[in-house]
Symmetry: C2
Subunit: 422 residues, 2 copies
Amino acid sequence: MSVAKQDVRSLAEAARAASRVLATAPTGQKDEALRLMARHLREAIPAIVAANEVDMAAARASGKGGAFLDRLLLNASRVEAMARAVEEVAGLKDPVGEVTEGWDRPNGLHVSKVRLPLGVVLMIYEARPNVTSDAAALCLKSGNAALLRGGSEAARSNAAIAAALAAGVTEAGLPAACIQPVPPGERETLLELLKLEGLIDLCIPRGGEGLIRFVAENARIPVVKHYKGVCHVYVHAAADLDMATRITLNAKTSRPGVCNAAECLLVDRAVAEAFLPRVARELVAKGVELRGDPATVEVLSRAGVAVTPATEEDWGREFLDLILAVRVVDGLDAALGHIARYGSEHTEAIVTADAAVAGRFTREAQASAVVWNASTRFNDGGELGLGAEIGISTSRLHAFGPMGLRELTSQKYVIHGQGQVR
Amino acid sequence: MSVAKQDVRSLAEAARAASRVLATAPTGQKDEALRLMARHLREAIPAIVAANEVDMAAARASGKGGAFLDRLLLNASRVEAMARAVEEVAGLKDPVGEVTEGWDRPNGLHVSKVRLPLGVVLMIYEARPNVTSDAAALCLKSGNAALLRGGSEAARSNAAIAAALAAGVTEAGLPAACIQPVPPGERETLLELLKLEGLIDLCIPRGGEGLIRFVAENARIPVVKHYKGVCHVYVHAAADLDMATRITLNAKTSRPGVCNAAECLLVDRAVAEAFLPRVARELVAKGVELRGDPATVEVLSRAGVAVTPATEEDWGREFLDLILAVRVVDGLDAALGHIARYGSEHTEAIVTADAAVAGRFTREAQASAVVWNASTRFNDGGELGLGAEIGISTSRLHAFGPMGLRELTSQKYVIHGQGQVR
C-alpha cells in the first residue's frame, strides 16, 4: 500500500488543479455535491461495512485494544451518521465570497476584504474513518481540495468511503481530485507530502501528540497544530458553589477522554473548606481519583474523602481519564500563575459572581477559549455555533481554538477605484 | 559577532517572559513607551549616525554598490523620520482586547471573539536599519515581544537603534526584553532561532527571495512569507483608455523596484490597436523597455514604437526595473489564464467599465489584492488604511496581503455562561 514519491506529488498536483476549479464553484453546485456524497455514502453502506470488517479483523489480529477497535468500527448506523453530517455541512453558510468588512479611503478608493479558499488542505489522522467524510465535507464546502491521509489500520474503510464521496463529487460536475485519499504508506511518503510547499497550503494533523509532533517537526508546509488540552477550572472565592460543583463535575466526568475535559481544579483558599469536601464526594462517587496538593489533602482527609497526594508531574498533565489534580490557591493571581505555568492554552474556566475578577481572568488567561461560569466542554465547534469543526488549534497563527468553515478560508483585499494612481 | 546556541535560546526565553507582561499591558503604557522610544531615538541621533558611519565604511570597503549603500545609510533626517514613524504607531488603535464579534447560543451562552497578541515575533531582514524601529513599534503596540535580526552589514547601526528603543521601553516600565536585537552571526545561529518552537510564535522574513526561501525551508516555527510580486495590469475591451494609460504608467514607473509595481501588461485584442501605441509611447518616454508577444510587436512596430520580442522567461518575471512585458489576450478568460499561470498571487489589476467583468475578475483572480480601476501600487498597508505594515504576505495562512497591527494578533473565544454544562 506504499506510494512512491512521484505518486505523492502527482496526487498533490491533481489536488492543486482541482482546487482552482473548486475555488470559484457556485455554492449551489457545492451543496449538490455534498448531498450526492451523502447519498453515495448511504448506497455504499454494504461495501463500506465489508471493507471495515477486513480492517477490524486485521486490527484484532494485531492485538489492538478495545478503545482502538471502537474508534475503527463502522456499522450501518455509524455510516448513516456520517452521511447526515455531510448533509448538515450542505446547510451551513458558504464562507467563500463573504465580504467581512469594507471601508473608503480619502482618495475615494473602496477597500473590502473577501473570503477565498486556502487551496489544498492535507488532513493527517489516525484510526477514526469518520474523519474522512467529515473533513472532506468541510473542505469541499469551503472550496478547498482535500488530501486525506488516514491511518493504515483504517486503509480499506477509508478507501471505500473516499470512493463513495468521489462518486458524489463527480456526479455534481466537480473534479474527482477535489477529494483524494492518500494511501497510507511508510513514513517516507508522509515526509514527502509534508515538503510539498506551493502544492499544499495547510496541513491539519489530528491524533496523538506523537503524530502531531512528527508532522510539526518535519513539515515545510504550514501546519495548524492541535496539541494537548490541559484545562483548568478555577473556583474563585466569590463563586456560587452549587454552580461550581455542577461545572467541575461536568468538565471532568462528562467525557474524560477528550481535549476539553478538565484535568485540574484550582480552589481559592477562602472557599476550600466549604467547597472541596462536597465537590470531592460527588467526583469520587463518579469514580474520579483525586490528586491533591497538601492543603487539599488536609481538607479532604479531615472530611473523610479519598485523596492521593499530587506529585509535581500531576500539574500540567493531560490525564484523559477519571483523574483530577486539585490545588488550593491564594486568589486570582495565584490561579493565573498556575495556569500560565502549567496550562496548554486550550481552555480555562473560572467560576465567580464577581464580574471584575472574571474580566481580569478572561483578559489574562492565555487560551484558545476562556470560559466564565460554564463548563470547559463548550470549547467545541458545534457547541460554539461554528456548525462543525475540522480541528482545534492550540497555536495562535491563522486560527486559535475550534476551526470551522471560516477558518478554512483566507481573505483578500478587493480595491475598487475610479482611475486612482499614486 | 556570532552568538552561541545557548545565547540565542536565552534571548528567546527572555522575549517569551517579556511577552507575558506585554500581553496585558494597558494601551496607555504601550503608547507612552512608543513616545519615549521616539524621544530616545532623537536623542541618540549622533550615536546612531556615528555607528552607521562605521557600517557604511565597512560596506564601502567590501565593495557594496550604490543601491545597497543607500538602503544602509542613516543621517539625522532619516533617524528623525524613524522617530516620527514610531510616534505614528502610538496614534493607531490598539488591536489587543478588541471584540471582533459576539453571538448568543440557544443555551444562553454568550460567545465573543477577542484579539490577543501572538506572543514573540522574530523579524529577519537585511540592510535597511529603519526596519528595526518600524518592526519594534508595530510589535510593541500589538503586545508582541520582538526579536530583531538584521543583516550583519547594519549590525552597529541596529545595535545603536535598539539601545535607544530599549531605553524608551524600560523608562515606560516595560521589560527591556520586549525589544531585543539578535546579533547577526553565522547561518547556524539563524538555524537555531528558526527551531525554537514554543518560544517564538511567528517569523517574518523581509528581504530577497534567497533569504525568504532559506527561512521557509529551515523553520520549525510559523513563517509568514513574502515572495515576489509579479503584478499584472489587464486592460479589458471596455476600459476607459485614458484611465488605462494613467494606471499602467503609474503601476510601472512610479517606483519600479517595489513588489507592487506592475511587471506585465495584458491588453484585450479588441483595443490593442487603439491602446498599445499610445501607452507604449508614454512608457518609452519614461524610459521603459517593452518586451512584447508577437501581436504586440506587430502593432507597435507598425506604429513605430521600440519593442523587443518577449521570451518565455519574460512572463512571470519580476523585473523590479523599467522593463514591462506586454501581451495581447483574447478576453477575460485568457487574461485570467495568463495570471493563474504566471502571477505570484500578490496584486492583480483590471481596467474596465464593465461591472460584470470586473466582478468575475475580482472573484477569480487569485491574489492578496485584486484592483479594479486603480493602480497596483495601492496594495500597501499605509495606502489601504492599515496605518503601517510589517510585511506583505503572499501565502494565505494567517494573513494574505499587507499585515498591520491586527495581523500581528490572534483571537480567542470568550464564553460567558450562567452555570451551563453539557
